[in-house]
Amino acid sequence: MNARENYLRTVEFREPQWIPCGVSISPVLWRIYRERLEELILRHPSIFGDYKKGSVDFNRFDVRCKGDIYKDEWGCVWHHVQDGLVGQVKTHPLEDWKILESYEPPDPLKLKGPPQPDSPPVETWDQARRRVKEDRKNKRLACGYVPHSFLFQRVYYLRGFKNFLIDTITQTGNLKRLIDIIVDYNLRLIRWWLENDVDVMIFGDDLGTQTRLTINPETFRKLFIPAYAEIFKACRESGVHVYFHSDGHIMEIAEDLVKSGVSILNLQDLVNGIDNIRRNLRGKVCIDLDMDRQKILPFGTPMEVRRHVHRAISALHSPKGGLMIQVYPCSPTPLENIEALCQALEEARGGIKFDKPNVIW
């Protein structure tokens, strides 16, 4: 069984052979650990796949370099304050609702390639088309994507966070109009990927804070769930799985997301609570568990890391499927904790998620 088949069996609860695991390491850690990290990766081919030595540039941050500023196609201006980290939007083109009247939303298909959130496209449309075709030909999982922060966060990138939070209380017609504009943008993009025959569409939008949803769950259901449902429906009607990632605590609306069409839900373990995830989501959706990168992984001991991995997997695993693991080690995670993580994943019947190594995020 190849990784694609195992992945799809996991999503569809058709008894996969192993738990698909992904460990994508931050560019900052690559710069710190360099060859030592590469050696670790080569020691764990069952997690990282066929990684080729020398294929990562240890110093490469692309546009994510401290001091860089990038204006995206919506007119939002991103500032990068730390090397290797996603930037932060500091200029919001729709801070004043008066501008909405004359605002011309971007056409994603007029960009050089599929858009990224805080940087220029990383592949052209032709390259993306060829990649999907090659993946199909070689029986690898073919994925399409919209930029991270595609809807909920895009509203506040355009409006400014404070304005947005107040909008969710006052709920003027302008907010609904803006959501519709953003849905249209995403649908154009999704249709392009669907025409190119992908298996999975990848979506990411951070909806939660550390302890609760950013906005009232009732308001979220009213304003945003219909918009997500419209976007996800387009994928599901074409037989394409919907992978949805969110940082933060999202338990109150997780089931609403599943009902709106999510087939793989990537959510944080400790922030949402492993017991909550087990109780509310296990068996209803394929869980891609985003394993802790705030407490245990960066600051715990290797033993604590191992214990955590085993506890999470034993709580959520089923031979039928429905569980994947994703880990994003970031600074200041010690190398021995990444080693312990990989060992524990191997012990728990973890294996590669994709045929192509995906070792950097």
């Binding site: 304050v81 404070k162 302890t211 009232n216």
Partner: protein, 215 residues
């Protein structure tokens, strides 16, 4: 009659009804109610909003909306307060260097102002020594450091070191607030408190100010 209007004013704030707050504020002033009593009714409303947040009934959006309504109300009240209000305390606020997030800082700022603190806001991406310079300049006894990114939290230790270097560590308390705040920072970085939500942060700051007189 005064009491009824003030109860309604408090309730309108808790319900986040900006228009009603404005209307009742004007009515209270036209009825010649003591501006200090009006302010206390609004403060009581903010405390209720804090409780609702702690109980999980209100969210960040409600805290921000309440802060905005309160800000507007204070603008109206300020010129009418006969004597200079006695300050509850003085505090320097800022988001630590390497981090541009400001919403958490804005929330605690509005809660602090509502509670009668003098707040000196240094903005975002603030180097440790700037916190100390401002504390020296204003005589503030508390520094509030906001931190969302776990990659920036180590910089909060430098605020403590800068206070030690300036020789004022014994008179200035440091509280770290935000998603990245952790209890172990008290032992490891030498800060005095670390909290994940603004309402708890306000409680701690109020306790400190109470113990020390005005901070």
């Amino acid at each position: 009659m005064g009491c009824k209007v003030l109860d309604s004013l408090k309730e309108a704030l808790v319900q986040l009804d900006a228009a009603k707050v404005e209307e009742l504020l004007q009515e209270s002033l036209s009825s010649h109610l003591d501006p200090m009593e009006i302010l206390n009714a609004l403060r009581s409303g903010m405390e209720e909003i804090g409780r609702l947040f702690e109980n999980g009934e209100y969210f960040v959006s409600e805290l921000v909306m309440a802060g905005e309504i309160m800000k507007g109300a204070l603008e109206v009240l300020k010129p009418r307060l006969k004597t200079e209000r006695e300050s509850t305390g003085r505090i320097v606020l800022g988001t630590i260097i390497g981090d541009l997030h400001d919403i958490g800082k804005e929330i605690i700022k509005s809660l602090l102002i509502s509670a009668g603190f003098e707040v000196y806001d240094l903005g975002v991406d603030v180097p440790p020594e700037k916190f100390v310079e401002k504390a020296l300049e204003t005589g503030a006894g508390i520094i509030g450091v906001s931190a969302l990114l776990s990659t920036s939290i180590a910089n909060t230790a430098d605020v403590v070191k800068a206070l030690e270097k300036a020789g004022i560590r014994d008179r200035v308390k440091v509280i770290v607030g935000g998603a990245a705040a952790r209890q172990w920072m008290i032992e490891k970085y030498g800060v005095d408190a670390a909290v994940n939500d603004a309402v708890r942060g306000l409680e701690i700051i109020k306790e400190w100010a109470k113990k020390n007189g005005t901070a």
